[in-house]
Symmetry: C2
Subunit: 288 residues, 2 copies
């Protein structure tokens, strides 16, 4: 059965000794999986095997899924959890026949929304992550290629058309944040690494000065930076405590001196960096 | 007030003539926004202004939000919708004082889960998109840099360590799909464009043959390809109907001849491409 699973075990060797939570969707499963993760994160003391089952949109697939749920129940002796977003009433009804605790987003929320709007839901599958329209697709792809081309100071002649330019030391998280901003929000995000050559003074590098209003800094705890750099070039000067400390201190002074807003990336995920910097810089998304 | 909004109007000029749906979270807002989009997609005939308000985790921020909701209500004369994921009971209770229809994921689902587990939820904010651990962070960043370095056939010497190698004509969606696979699932995804030089025969390019087992094809409707390429190089041979048709036909023959699985990218979003190809190729995620 096709599936996407956390962990590395092959599907056929799944071990149902623990309780299993199934994240089931008739689409990509991305949304319901995110819901599942945040709910289960509130019960950290529980050992729960998490399995995402996307594209459950046919009777055949549904039967595989039902079988899978019952196997998890009987092998563990623990009631499975189903967190789902299934648009079809029929498929949802059949899922309810399983022995799992079933929490379905559409089941919970379509009725109150329908009552508010005074109209029935469309029951159309796969709208949320589909290609909404050509304009959205184009903006997104354009932003991705922009981020690729304008990564790591590789090119600066397109800075004029950037929505935001991230600056910071090497390996402070600029690249993944730019790519996330492009993919998720359609933003044209460039980045420019502050390297040792730029650190003779704490003035902004010349090339960045015309774009000061769209600069945003990332800083990072020097020890964390060191550990990231060690993974890349172990025992190099680049990854030494002295070098990491020096670079971070210089860049922070540079950012403060030029009054460039910045975030500390040490404890933040790429999603948090992206959304927080948009809030802080007052940048609006290009796609939704 | 800091916020992330669909559309391009500046926050202060928000026009509340339409009904407003607020997606409110104490974290990034990404999950609740995805839920909101998929629910409202079932009511396409309704005009709804959609506003995401992330990081609502203090009384000050909450008061701004409450004010905002009431303004939307009074300016439109229509009851607003709040779709939220708020972990704090206290903030949730205060949100309930507003005049909005309130649908909260934690409110709906924590109680049945707590009953099942026989234990109270932790009420800890911001776990779901935070840096879970160093290993996860490192795997993700490593995958992103791998995708960058191994984009567009730029480098092939790392194909050995790729989890998957996407092949297809230029602008069939390979690059964004690889980046998404890296960011979302920590997969090392490379891509290789099949260019005209490779099309003298329908045999697999030599460089790809040792990696046949990890190749995955993307194909695309020639008219769609043409319109994407026109955006990039209008009126070029590259974007001509004949060229697009020729390339797509050749690549499809190549994929079939070498029995490489492939997907038609024409109608699929990046999320759909990524999750479907993982299902089809039986690839497991590296991070969850």
């Amino acid at each position: 059965m096709s599936e996407i699973r956390a962990g590395v075990t092959a599907p056929e060797t799944t071990d149902y000794k623990k309780r299993t939570a199934f994240f089931i969707s008739d689409g990509t499963g991305l949304t319901v999986e995110a819901i599942g993760h945040s709910l289960l994160a509130q019960f950290r003391n529980q050992q729960v095997e998490q399995v995402t089952l996307p594209y459950v949109d046919s009777d055949e697939r549904l039967n595989q899924v039902l079988h899978r749920i019952e196997r998890a129940a009987s092998e563990s002796g623990l009631q499975p959890i189903v967190i789902s977003s299934i648009i079809s009433d029929d498929i949802r009804r059949q899922l309810h026949q399983s022995s799992a605790l079933m929490l379905d987003v559409f089941e919970s929320y379509l009725a109150p929304l329908a009552a508010l709007f005074g109209t029935d839901p469309a029951h159309t599958v796969g709208i949320s992550h589909g290609i909404a329209n050509d304009r959205r697709y184009t903006a997104r792809i354009d932003a991705v290629h922009f981020a690729m081309d304008n990564d790591d100071g590789r090119r600066t002649r397109e800075f004029e058309s950037a929505d935001i330019i991230l600056v910071g030391v090497s390996r402070s998280g600029k690249t993944p944040t730019c790519l996330y901003l492009a993919l998720q929000f359609g933003l044209r995000a460039a980045n420019y690494p502050i390297t040792e050559e730029d650190m003779d003074s704490t003035a902004l590098p010349k090339i960045l000065r015309p774009f000061q209003h769209k600069l945003f800094g990332l800083t990072i705890d020097p020890r964390r930076l060191m550990s990231i750099r060690q993974e890349r070039r172990a025992n190099s000067r680049y990854a030494s405590p002295e070098q990491c400390e020096f670079e971070v201190r210089q860049v922070e002074q540079m950012l403060r001196r030029s009054q460039i807003p910045y975030l500390d990336a040490t404890e933040l995920s790429v999603e948090e960096l992206a959304t927080r910097l948009m809030s802080q810089a007052g940048i609006e998304r290009k796609i939704s």
